[in-house]
Each structure stands twice: as structure tokens, then as C-alpha cells.
Symmetry: C2
């Protein structure tokens, strides 16, 4: 079984080529692959499979089957789709510079930029209203935003490291209290922000693609921009794992950043054999 390891601004993935959809990628195997001590290690798995082989009719040759590190299915990942595109390019599986990629959230287009970075259109955002979150001993107000997934982004006028973001508790809107990604954002220059993110289910992470977009929306909103008139000039977004660029628009949110493949190889047959439940023993 072949694999690659790659990352985008420190958000890292185990890439598993399975062009003809032959692999039984169980949640247990995904979790074993993503285990950082007993497996390869990653924030998730990106299975590379032909769109036709999974019965999808999307207008893209390749389908990104994305799984979280715990083995659960996920629709979309802004850093993951760029790593997926990088893998297709390096393996010679696609022509550029525009690459259509089928996902559970629909087809996304990734563009290879002249400087080697990759841009993905994450679609339009929706501003849901104001909200409030308790972080450490502080009460912060922010903007509730949907980028496909829910976010609460709080612009502050202090270093983003000053906030205890280990276990934020959303107070409003009540509908998001059960689970939301929380961003702390600070303006550090003209159309330039620094951010930290607490991802639901993952905690503090080095980077989050949809979080970078939500943070940009909150910063633009603070500057007086509104969804019917987002300015097209991109924002620079500093995340703990690197730097991204975000450009907002009425019908598109463009996320640009690096993505690289670190290593390629194969999993040992003996290791794989130990991940399979013994014959007659079903997965729990």
C-alpha cells in the first residue's frame, strides 16, 4: 500500500492513492495511519480515487475522499484540497494550471500559481450575526460566519497569543454552542491579520483554511466592508503554521498558500496486517 505525506502551512495529511477504489479504508485504518507514534501521523487522510470509480458524476477526474484523524468522514478541507492538488501535480496525474477536484461538498477548482502556491475557491461565505465566546477568563464578542462549516471569529486589539484558546465556550448564538471553530484575529497591517484557531474536535491547530477565511471576513467587517461589497484586494493571514492569502467575493472565497509533499513510500505489509481485525472479528 503506497502513501505520501504532505502539508499546507503545517496542516498535514497522509495521502493514499487508490485510483480504482479497491481499498477498504476503514475508520480503524484511518486512525492507525494518522497516529503520530504508532503509524505515519497526520491531521487526516486524503484518499485519491477516480471520480467514476466512486460512482460520482462530478466534472472532475479525481475525487478527494477526506477523512478526519479519528476516521470520520469530512466534506472539505481548505488545506487538504491544496495538498491533494500538489500530489496530483507531482505524480503527473493532472494538467494545470486549473485542476477540478471532486469532493463531498461538490467540485472545487484549484489553480497552480506561477510562484508555486495553490489557490482554491472555497465558495461564498455567509455572515450569520454577532456572537460571544468565553475564552479563559475573558469574554469576547465576534462574528458568526459560515464557510460551509460554522465559525465564530473575534477581532481583538492585543496579541492573539494573549488569549487562552485552549477551551473556548461559545455563549451566543446559542445554536453554535454545541460546536464551532473559534478564531482570534488581530489587524497587524493594511489588509494583514494574525490569527489563532481552535477547531472543534481538534483543538488548537497550526492552520485552518476555512478559519483563515472566517478571520478575514471578521477583519473586513470590522473595517466596514459588507458581503454585498467585499473588496477584491487579498488579505494576508498569518497562522501559527505559516502564511495564507484570502480574497473575498460575492460568489467566491479564494484561499492561496503553499502545499508540499514531504515524503513518499509504502506501508510495511507486516504493519498493515496488524491493523486488520482477525478473521471473524468485526470492527467494533
Amino acid at each position: 500500500m503506497r502513501f505520501a505525506k504532505g502539508h499546507g502551512t503545517g496542516n498535514d495529511f497522509v495521502v493514499v492513492p487508490d485510483f480504482d477504489n479497491k481499498l477498504d479504508l476503514t475508520p480503524e485504518l484511518v486512525a492507525a495511519l494518522c497516529d503520530r507514534h504508532f503509524g505515519v501521523g497526520g491531521d487526516g487522510v486524503l484518499r485519491v480515487v477516480r471520480t467514476t470509480a466512486v460512482g460520482e458524476s462530478q466534472p472532475a477526474e479525481w475525487f478527494m475522499d477526506y477523512r478526519n484523524a479519528d476516521g470520520s468522514l469530512a466534506e472539505m478541507c481548505g488545506n487538504g484540497v491544496r495538498v491533494f492538488a500538489r500530489y496530483l501535480i507531482e505524480e503527473g496525474l493532472t494538467f494545470g494550471p486549473e485542476i477540478a477536484i471532486a469532493t463531498r461538498a461538490g467540485t472545487r477548482t484549484v489553480r497552480a500559481e506561477a510562484d508555486g502556491q495553490l489557490t482554491v475557491d472555497m465558495g461564498p461565505v455567509a455572515v450569520l450575526g454577532e456572537g460571544a465566546v468565553e475564552a479563559g477568563s475573558q469574554l469576547l464578542v465576534g462574528l458568526a460566519i459560515s464557510v460551509g462549516n460554522p465559525h465564530l471569529a473575534c477581532v481583538i486589539d492585543a496579541p492573539v497569543e494573549a488569549i487562552d484558546l485552549s477551551s473556548p465556550r461559545v455563549l451566543e448564538p446559542a445554536g453554535l454552542a454545541a460546536g464551532v471553530n473559534v478564531e482570534i484575529v488581530r489587524l497587524v497591517g493594511p489588509r494583514e491579520i494574525a490569527m489563532r484557531v481552535h477547531e472543534r474536535g481538534s483543538g488548537l491547530t497550526l492552520s485552518c483554511g476555512t478559519g483563515a477565511i472566517a478571520a478575514t471576513v471578521a477583519a473586513a467587517w470590522s473595517a466596514g466592508e459588507r458581503p454585498d461589497g467585499w473588496q477584491a484586494t487579498p488579505w494576508t493571514v498569518h497562522v501559527p503554521g505559516g502564511r495564507l492569502a484570502v480574497a473575498l467575493g460575492a460568489t467566491a472565497s479564494l484561499l492561496t498558500g503553499p502545499a508540499e509533499i514531504v515524503a513518499r513510500g509504502h506501508l510495511e505489509a507486516s504493519w498493515l496486517a496488524r491493523q486488520r481485525p482477525p478473521a471473524g472479528v468485526g470492527a467494533a
Copy 2:
């Protein structure tokens, strides 16, 4: 550049074959390889090099050049030397079942057991005397032990998970206050212990080979055994990452446990190129 990833009870390593000592394995490259998000990920690097190629005269064909995750040199690692031996076996680089491995601490012999586990002789231990450590709000007494490196092992009569081992502070002996590995040990059966370990420089880890030996020494001492009369019957040691066995003796400490290779492959040339400082720019 080829590599493998392997682990012993969750203590994981990037194995780098460099038989003829051609590789410039800088501290920066080691740290980049061990980075769990931007690199391959591991607790350390095991470089596989011919003993003659590094100018060593030890009676072993292969030298284990072990580096900590921060790039610093280290003498010895009880889990690492077993992973190193597993790699030699799987690559067909050695005949078994006794494998001599040269290290900075001298030559160690690893034996491949019939059940697939690997035993390494870590040499004799020295009991240095009683000690005390503050862990969370609790004051614990223990035994200071040298297994080549210093340990303070405390036997308690409560679940080992009950102790806050996030930042233990050694009070006695004063000579160890600057840096020591701390083990919390509980007897859970006849010659069977559970332990947790805080490694100096690494914090809480899934496993520590010398720590398992120190924990066994403390348990045997509590049972009335003394270094001049260690009983040869092995102890079972449960660490967070699995199970080890330890047998104490006057001239040898035998550590037995699993070691496996997870994956093998090569690092991308583009990734490696980015790890090198630009020409004319020396390492800091």
C-alpha cells in the same frame, strides 16, 4: 534520501540509512525530519552507518547514530536500539539471532526472540540512594537510580494516572534537581508493574526503555531485593504505549519488547532542498 519510520511501544523514530557516512545530518535536518507536521515526525533519528565508516573500532558491523528530536546527540536509547535492530533484520543487513550494535555508549547486543520481540542488554544499574520529588501538590519519595542516565522512580499505592506528572520537581538528591527522568510506579500483580514517565527534555512520553528498567529496580527494591541479589525472573512493565519486560542482574539489565517498522520510502528532493540553508548562509 531514503528513510523508514518505526517504533517500540510508541517511542518512534525516523530511520535514515547512510551506510557509507556520506550524509551531512545537521541538527537542523534532524529537527526538520522529526517535526510531526512539517516533516516525517518522530521522537528521534536513528542513522544506520557502517562502524568502520565513522572510524569506530567497536566489534559490530553497524553503528547507531542516535539524535534527539531537537538535533542534539544522544548516547543510547533502549527503544531506539530495538527499532534499529528490527530495521537491520528487515533489510537483510544482519544475521541473527544475536546482533551487535555499536553506539556512543559502547556496543550493545540485541537478541531476536522466537516470538518476534527484541531483547537488549542495557548493562548494570546503580542505586544512588533515596530521593524526593514534588509532583503536582504531592510529595513523593523514591529511589535515585542510574541506568547510564539518571532516574528517580517512586513506587506508590494508587493508580499511576492519579499523579500530576506534567512538571515534577526533584527535591533530593540535590545533584539531580537540574535534570532527571521521573517514574511513577505501582505494583499491579506478582512481578508486574504499571508506570508513567516524565523524561527530561521531552516531558510525558508513551515509553522509555531506561525508565522501565529504573521502575523495575524501584519495585524490586520495595520487595526487598538488593543489587547484590537481584532475582533473575523477569518483571512485566506496563507503559502508556504498551508492554515491556525487564530482567535485572548484577552485570546486565535485559529489556524485552516489540519493535516494528511502519513504513519505508524516500524524502522528496524538493522538501530536502528547502531544508538546506542558502549558499553562503551558515547554520546559526
